[in-house]
Amino acid sequence: MDVQLKRGLLDICVLAAIKDEESYGYQIVKDMKPYVDISESTLYPILRRLETAELLTVRSAEHNGRLRKYYRITDAGLSRIQAFKEEWREIMSIYSFVTKGDPETHG
């Protein structure tokens, strides 16, 4: 897949992973793994990027006698997901037009 596209998609996936409740690095990777190929080391720059863009906020809280960072989505982050959904609705309809009549894509 196109590198630039994949980068953008991973950003959205991370936002989606924290959209209902705040989460932490290990949990985010665990939640995403069944759907997307991601590792802890790929997640790190994404989290930093999203924090800089103010799409999420970070707070530290104690867990088992150590600090853990929790990431919470912002309103800007939520509207980013919304924009993504609208964009992809359009792309999916183009996709179904392009693959119309292809025997192998049925179902």
Binding site: G25, S41, T42, Y44, P45, R49, N64
Partner: protein
């Protein structure tokens, strides 16, 4: 490799980073390792699951903005010796102009590329303006009883209208190309800085 060794190795590779960025990266990986161990892995397994330290350091460094990277790198790791300072000062009439010239040339090339893009857009604007002008001229010629000339102008106007659209596509393509080129160059420069750091 256990957790302590991994973090020490990572810290060594991130030496050129500003303190706060370095600490944030180390904190993140310490937290991930703790969580992996809590999830049932041994310390060794947890470290092994992260992959190579070099790749991790590379990824972190690539994400730091270039100016920050240069600034952190300019900070000497040891105190300079007196003769080094003298040499740099004495040599400054030579290396400073060369450095400035290099920057100026790079900047000039970049500006020139954008000038080409700008001129393409300017041409497109000219087409866009002359297309309706041609059609208006055609109408006025037709009204004043010169149908042959009117037809000629009408044709020219329509051709220009079509050209406006095609030309705009060309403009956008060129602008995108120059933009990508700039980004690639920046990445290349960044990679130079990082690779030297790893050695």
């Amino acid at each position: 490799m256990d957790k302590k060794e991994f973090l020490a190795a990572l810290e060594a590779r991130l030496e050129s980073l500003p303190e706060s960025d370095k600490q944030a990266s180390l904190d993140y990986y310490a937290e991930i390792l703790d969580d992996l161990i809590e999830g049932g892995m041994t310390e060794q397994e947890a470290v092994a699951s992260l992959g190579s330290v070099d790749a991790i350091a590379q990824e972190i460094l690539m994400d730091i903005p270039l100016p920050k990277l240069i600034k952190a790198k300019m900070k000497p790791k040891r105190r300079m010796r007196a003769w080094e300072i003298v040499l740099i000062a004495v040599g400054s009439p030579v290396w400073l102009p060369i450095l400035i010239a290099l920057f100026a040339v790079a900047l000039a090339v970049y500006v020139t590329l954008w000038a080409v893009v700008l001129s393409l857009y300017a041409a497109d604007l000219a087409f866009a303006i002359s297309a309706p002008a041609g059609i208006i001229a055609a109408i006025s010629l037709f009204v004043s009883g010169k149908p042959t000339a009117a037809l000629l102008f009408l044709g020219a106007g329509l051709v220009l209208a079509g050209l406006t659209i095609l030309w705009l596509l060309l403009c956008n393509l060129t602008a995108k190309g120059v933009w990508q080129l700039g980004k690639l160059t920046l990445r290349g420069i960044k990679a130079c800085f990082i690779r030297k750091e790893g050695k």
